[in-house]
């Protein structure tokens, strides 16, 4: 029981001190102090996502890897790079298998997974994604099976090109999936996340190519890794600018901040290493590929944890909404 009446600080609902305020106490110096906000005993306003990182953050990586690997494999098929095509097809199906396991494992009622295909709802990115995966999985599976067994190459190529055509959507729909929530970091970054996810997926598909295809065929993977790393940096920068100092804070602090910094280093390092030595050395090429894959893993987990951190702290929900009201821009369909 707070001792009522002995001053402002004893009253929990006033000037709630939250985890992020405390972090600032020992962290960087702020030029301008953060706006004070009120809350109900510092409790979160929105609910923390019930998704587990080992399932859903892992799925963001695996789904991106699968989708972009299918695209790269299709392009390799069309240009006669058989090793690169096989690496992409097999990686896509492996990542897809992991994706399906993660998605089913995360359900509260895994036995009801088929209910995902009970309706089609464009307003639910999860519904759209379920149908997308339902169409993509048989194509990716057929392409990989044909590559591995050598049977029905014509059918395998057609399926691989089909999977590649869908790969872009498989790799990017996960951005709307997490952005279509009230989680401040995810929702406010809804314009930049698809590009960041596409870039991160490009990096991981390039990583697959660098690890599993001989350097003589991995030219496209090296170039895709460079493009992905540049896209990753650019969209990360755009995301930070969009979120600003306040809502962007969870991206820079704590476990998420550490993961995202690591991701930036691994991604840039992998891309540069593949450019510098990837043509000559299979070992350097493999190391670069592993760095790109690890960078993508760190990006996905970092973004996942940043969103969770922003849901735990009511300040990230209250401050922007309060600022909107103060600026006379209360959300209103007539003024927006």
């Amino acid at each position: 029981m707070s001792d009522v009446g002995s001053g402002d600080s004893s009253v929990a609902s006033r000037d709630a001190r939250t985890a992020s305020d405390r972090r600032h106490g020992r962290g960087e110096q702020m030029m301008v102090p953060k706006a004070k906000f009120e809350s109900y005993y510092g409790r979160p306003i929105i609910k923390r996502p019930t998704w587990q990182a080992r399932d859903v953050a892992a799925y963001l990586f695996l789904g991106g890897t699968a989708g972009a690997s299918s695209v790269l494999a299709a392009a390799a098929t069309l240009t006669g790079r058989r090793s690169l095509a096989r690496a992409g097809r097999v990686a896509a199906v492996a990542a897809l298998g992991g994706s399906l396991y993660a998605l089913i494992h995360d359900l509260g009622k895994p036995s009801r997974f088929p209910n995902m295909l009970r309706v089609f709802k464009p307003t639910s990115p999860m519904s759209v994604g379920s149908w997308l995966l339902a169409a993509y999985a048989p194509l990716a599976g057929t392409a990989a099976a044909s590559s591995l067994t050598g049977l029905l190459p014509g059918l395998g190529n057609a399926a691989g090109i089909g999977a590649g055509a869908m790969g872009g959507a498989v790799a990017t729909y996960t951005a709307p999936l997490i952005a279509d929530t009230a989680v401040p970091v995810w929702h406010e970054a809804h314009r930049e996340l698809p590009f960041l996810f596409a870039s991160s997926a490009a990096c991981s598909a390039a990583g697959v190519g660098l690890v599993f295809a001989p350097p003589s065929e991995a030219g496209p993977a090296r170039r895709l890794g460079l493009a992905g790393a540049i896209g990753d940096m650019a969209s990360t920068r755009a995301m930070h600018m969009r979120l600003g100092r306040d809502i962007g804070e969870p991206l820079r602090t704590g476990r998420a901040g550490m993961l995202l910094k690591t991701a930036a280093g691994l991604t840039a390092g992998g891309a540069l290493l593949s450019q510098a030595l990837g043509r000559r050395s299979r070992i350097a090429s493999t190391a670069a590929g592993l760095a790109l894959l690890a960078g993508s893993v760190c990006t996905r987990f970092g973004l996942f944890y940043a969103g969770v951190a922003s849901s735990d702290d009511p300040g990230y929900t209250v401050r922007p909404q309060r600022a909107r009201i103060s600026a006379g821009q209360r959300d209103n369909h007539r003024v927006s």
Partner: protein, 294 residues
């Protein structure tokens, strides 16, 4: 496709119901809430909601923390500093030394408020539900079908108010149904039935909105300037709530978001950006394959 944002006068009709009853709702007038928690208990009893543990939060008289899978009504207790009322001279003759008549008056105030699912006009939980387990009833309310929900948890972070949550031992999500079973037989929801002060009022939403406007005017006339309605406005970010409130302080003091917006307002923009990003990925791969020496 139904509208995702803005006013929607016929929310049940928009969801495909024909010849449906009026939209029903809650008006929770916190100015007369006495914090008895009868609503919490009645809700738990009627809906057979499992126990969610005995905890001591240290948050005034609130030891049930907030809404969740196992608490569909929640009474908030807020203790805040408030100026002592100024002594009022009654002009009566007195004997002896003058005494300060308000010396024993508290220098704080309690705010009590019963929170509940807002049954939004544009409900993010319903929009994002991939299985169709969440649906719009003929009364305009939003209900989970527990025999369909597969526990994907998408609705949990989608709700801008943090209402719906997953039940740990059960894996499915749960929230207020506005006593859908009672409405069907012409009964009011259990919380409204149990409320001893009529802080929780149930009825046709249009009627409640009129009643609430009159109540807030009366409070302003009685110099309670802080009285404000929350969630009543069909022009707000969720198209107006089916359960709205009269508050005596800012919403965030009660743990409510001050300006909530349904996340699917921006869905078109999300899909557009994802589409462009997907094409950019295809283009990058094409360029990587064509554009090099090897």
């Amino acid at each position: 496709m139904a509208r995702l944002y803005g006013p929607e006068p016929d929310v049940a009709g928009d969801a495909g119901h024909v010849d449906h009853p009026q939209r029903m709702g809650f008006f929770t007038d916190t100015s007369v809430c006495i914090g008895c928690k009868a609503c919490e208990v009645a809700c738990k009893e009627w809906n057979a909601i499992p126990d969610d543990g005995l905890t001591f939060t240290g948050m005034s008289y609130d030891n049930s923390s907030g809404l969740g899978a196992n608490r569909w009504r929640h009474v908030a207790f807020i203790e805040q500093p408030a100026p002592k009322p100024a002594p009022v001279s009654l002009g009566m003759p007195t004997v002896g030394a003058p005494t300060a008549p308000t010396a024993d008056a508290p220098d704080f105030r309690w705010l009590m408020s019963s929170d509940v699912c807002k049954h939004c006009t544009h409900a993010a939980c319903l929009d994002v539900c991939p299985t169709g387990a969440l649906f719009r009833t003929e009364y305009g309310t939003v209900v989970v079908q527990e025999d369909v929900c597969n526990g994907c948890g998408y609705c949990v972070p989608a709700c801008p108010y943090g209402v719906i949550d997953k039940r740990d031992d059960d894996g499915r999500v749960w929230k207020c149904t506005m006593c859908y079973d009672r409405l069907g037989v012409g009964q009011e929801p259990a919380c409204a039935k149990a409320c001893p002060t009529d802080s929780i009022q149930f009825g046709p939403l249009d009627e409640l909105r009129e009643r609430a406007a009159a109540r807030v005017d009366a409070l302003h006339a009685a110099s309670v300037e802080s009285a404000q309605l929350y969630g009543h406005d069909p022009d707000d970010g969720v198209g107006g709530a089916g359960a709205f409130f009269l508050l005596l302080d800012e919403p965030e003091v009660y743990g409510l978001p001050p300006d909530p917006v349904v996340t699917t307002r921006d869905l078109a923009s999300m899909w557009k950006h994802a589409g462009v990003a997907a094409l950019a990925l295809l283009a990058a791969v094409a360029a990587a394959v064509i554009g090099g020496r090897q």
